[in-house]
């Protein structure tokens, strides 16, 4: 038996030596005590044993303590009770009935000064260990209440509060992700993330869960089986993230992992306890598979995705944590600290969020760039189109100008050009009198005027053109004593400039003939628009008529016919309506 320790009233003392006896007796026995070092892991020190056991520490005090002391047990897996000098000073509940798991939660007991006496004091801790649960106790911290309480608060914060807070945060994150997924179910990866986050975080509560109420068998099946489901989800997530699909392996793994909790439940606590390490081995393998899938992708992939490296790192760290916990569970490592894998979840989930966010924002950016590119292209295209239209417009303008030139040339060729040549040869040969030459050249000037009139862009309708002709020629007719009657339809009829000039020329030619040859008193010019869309022009005089084939008129008539043809009309030359005079009808 170890020597008595002095009662630590000044500073807290960590007690690492005690005496132990395994007995179901409700009171500590007298004999049978064996020295026991703390921490004590029953799986190592007495494998397969369960039931009750006592730990005893001898404490020697000069005098009873002035103030309260406190005892902190860093970790005790199961139900416990603490006695000072035989008096029950507190327990974790569960000495009878359902076992109480104390999980990883540190325990604090205040020991009133009255519990102690001067001289030897006995501090006993009774444990109740279930067959399927780990039994054991970590070193005890005994000392003044404030100091121990401070140590307790600190340990509690780091091991329990932080862990639980992180878990709550992760559950919330998972639920949010779930909401996101509901918004867009096709993004399965969000659904996976949500399930992973929620399940893993819920599972993590088991490290610090102390509540009763859940049947042990159900609880164990959940704790064990859910690890497989979590890792299965993680594996699927990695596959989706890296864009891979394993159509045969996936359903196999998925359904197996989902079945495991049910199988465990069916097998019962004993079997679960026995299969525990083997199962953890399978889980590690699954975790490694996910890591390998990710690593392979990173090796092969071209695109930069820093998030994936973060995930890989977090997963490796978690794997290391998991292996640590596995080793502790397998009693390869000393027991007593927190389960490290609890801290893996926040790392991994944070890395996943980072990646998903990166993908999401990357998508937004890509859309933005796409929009920019699109706008640029549209801008370019619009400019191209504008340039194209401009070119087309230029071509049209050029074509119009070319057409105008051709029209002018034709008219000048037919009219003024030919007349001037006639005048020239007449004057050269001397066969043309001065008066006639002047008249001929005067006609040329008059012709040119009509051409200039036809260049007026405002002259678009037959009425406009004939009005100008009338204005120019009526005085000449009046001078020759010929009364002219003009019946021009007021309905506007537009024609291209070339056609208008042809029409005006026909009338001009006809009137010139009347002036020169017809010896008429009245000439009537009528232009009507026909209901069917056609038109009819008539120039009729009451002169002496004509003899068909008279050479003086031949050429002029030929010109008129040609012009009428260009207008798409027929020219008819014949006597007037009452048989007198002559009429030219075009239409």
């Amino acid at each position: 038996m170890a020597a008595a320790l002095p009662l630590p009233v000044e500073q807290p003392v960590e007690i690492r030596e005690a005496a132990f006896v395994a007995t179901d007796a409700p009171r500590p026995p007298e004999g049978g005590w064996q020295p026991q070092a703390l921490p004590d892991n029953w799986r190592r020190s007495r494998p397969g044993q369960s039931g009750y056991g006592w730990y005893r520490v001898r404490l020697h005090a000069q005098e009873p303590p002035a103030h309260s002391l406190a005892l902190m047990i860093s970790m005790v897996g199961t139900t416990y009770a603490v006695y000072v000098n035989g008096v029950d000073v507190g327990d974790g509940g569960g000495m009878a009935g359902e076992i109480r798991r104390n999980g990883g939660v540190p325990q604090l007991l205040v020991l009133p000064p009255q519990a102690f006496v001067a001289g030897e004091n006995l501090l006993d801790v009774r444990l109740r260990v279930a067959p399927n649960l780990r039994g054991g106790i970590t070193p005890l911290l005994l000392g003044p209440r404030e100091a121990v309480a401070a140590a307790f608060d600190s340990l509690y914060f780091w091991r329990v509060t932080l862990s639980r807070s992180a878990n709550v945060a992760l559950v919330v994150a998972g639920l949010l992700a779930g909401l996101l997924w509901l918004r867009r179910p096709q993004q399965r990866i969000h659904g996976l993330f949500a399930a992973l986050a929620v399940l893993w975080s819920l599972r993590n509560f088991h490290y610090t869960y102390t509540g009763e109420g859940i049947p042990s068998r159900l609880w164990e099946a959940f704790v064990l089986g859910s690890l497989g489901v979590v890792l299965m989800l993680l594996w699927l997530f990695v596959l989706r993230l890296t864009g891979r699909r394993l159509p045969r392996a996936e359903p196999l793994v998925t359904w197996s992992c989902l079945a495991v909790p049910l199988v465990f439940f069916a097998l019962g606590e004993q079997a679960m306890s026995g299969l525990r390490l083997a199962w953890y081995g399978v889980c590690v393998a699954l975790g490694v598979a996910a890591i390998v899938a990710l690593a392979l992708h990173l090796r092969d992939a071209q695109a930069r995705r820093p998030g994936l490296w973060a995930i890989l790192g977090a997963m490796l760290v978690t794997l290391a944590f998991g292996l640590h916990d596995y080793a502790v569970s397998a009693s390869l490592l000393p027991w007593g600290g927190a389960a490290w894998m609890a801290f893996g979840a926040p790392l991994v989930l944070a890395a996943l969020v980072f990646t998903l966010a990166g993908d999401y924002f990357g998508a937004i950016e890509a859309v933005g760039r796409l929009n920019e590119t699109l706008e640029q292209r549209i801008g370019e295209r619009t400019r191209e189109l504008a340039a194209s239209y401009e070119r087309m417009a230029q071509l049209e303008r050029a074509a119009a100008v070319a057409q105008e030139r051709e029209r002018l040339m034709r008219d000048i060729h037919d009219g003024v050009g030919s007349q001037l040549i006639t005048a020239m040869s007449g004057i050269e040969k001397g066969g043309l009198s001065q008066g006639d030459a002047a008249a001929l050249i005067g006609e040329c000037i008059a012709d040119l005027r009509l051409v200039i009139d036809s260049l007026d862009p405002e002259q678009r309708h037959v009425g406009d053109a004939l009005a100008m002709l009338r204005w120019r020629i009526q005085p000449k007719l009046a001078e020759a004593g010929i009364e002219s009657v003009w019946e021009i339809a007021e309905t506007p009829l537009a024609m291209p400039p070339g056609a208008l000039l042809d029409l005006v020329r026909i009338v001009q030619e006809a009137l010139t003939n009347v002036l020169k040859h017809a010896q008429a008193r009245t000439v009537r010019v009528a232009f009507e628009v026909l209901p069917g869309g056609g038109w009819r022009l008539r120039v009729c005089d009451d002169g002496r008529g004509f003899a068909p084939g008279a050479p003086a008129r031949g050429r002029g008539l030929g010109n008129m016919r040609r012009r009428a043809q260009r207008l798409g009309a027929n020219l008819h030359f014949g006597p007037g309506p009452d048989g007198q005079g002559s009429c030219i009808a075009v239409g």
Partner: protein, 221 residues
């Protein structure tokens, strides 16, 4: 109207054409050439002294823009009727000439009869106007010619309704007497209306020039 001899000022730089005008005018005893100039500036200088009844102006002068000459003549000798001597009678030049203050025009190749008659007519208050010119004026002042609708007129409200009506008839090709018959006014009244239209254009154009110059700060009120 008493039979005064009209004093005519000639501004023409082509000697052959100038001779032609002289020959034409010589055939009418009621017309007398009081000055003949080859450049616009000397004509402007002399105008105030000579105070002719009528000035015949060629637009293509070497020393001055034809329209500027017309404006100058109108300001120096407001009582003088300015006639443009034109080869084709194309309405582009005529419209600007009218805005500058011309009240009529002659065609260069006209024989003496037409030539001299036109001078007398202008002095008597008539101003010739071609259908094309009428169309242009309509377009500018009311926004549409009978056969050719157009958007917002440039000088809306410049012409009275009667004046517009007369222009429409002219644009259709009606003679002055036909218009008179149609509107129940005399032919002379029609011609007077045309002359008034010309004057309005001249005034409007002068006011516009002043307004624009003020806007641009070229002159100060």
């Amino acid at each position: 109207m008493p039979d005064t001899v009209l004093e005519v000022l000639l501004v023409e730089d082509d000697p052959a054409h100038l001779q032609r005008y002289r020959d034409n005018l010589a055939q009418d005893a009621a017309l007398r050439v009081v000055g003949a100039y080859e450049g616009g500036r000397p004509a402007l200088a002399a105008c105030a002294d000579l105070l002719p009844h009528v000035a015949l102006v060629d637009l293509d002068l070497p020393d001055i823009d034809g329209f500027e000459l017309i404006r100058g003549l109108r300001s120096q000798c407001p009582e003088t009727d300015v006639l443009v001597v034109s080869v084709f009678g194309s309405e582009y030049h005529l419209l600007t000439a009218i805005e500058a203050g011309a009240t009529g025009y002659l065609l260069k190749d006209w024989g003496a009869t037409d030539f001299n008659a036109a001078i007398h007519a202008v002095h008597a208050g008539e101003s010739p106007i071609s259908p094309a010119l009428a169309r242009h004026l309509l377009r500018r002042c009311i926004g549409m010619a009978p056969s050719n609708p157009a958007p917002a007129p440039q000088d809306a409200g410049l012409l009275s309704q009667r004046e517009t009506r007369i222009l429409e008839c002219i644009a259709r090709g009606d003679t002055v007497s036909e218009i008179g018959r149609r509107l129940f006014i005399s032919a002379h009244t029609v011609k007077t209306h045309v002359k008034n239209i010309y004057r309005k254009l001249e005034t409007h154009s002068r006011h516009e020039a002043v307004r624009v110059a003020r806007q641009r700060g070229l002159i100060h009120p």
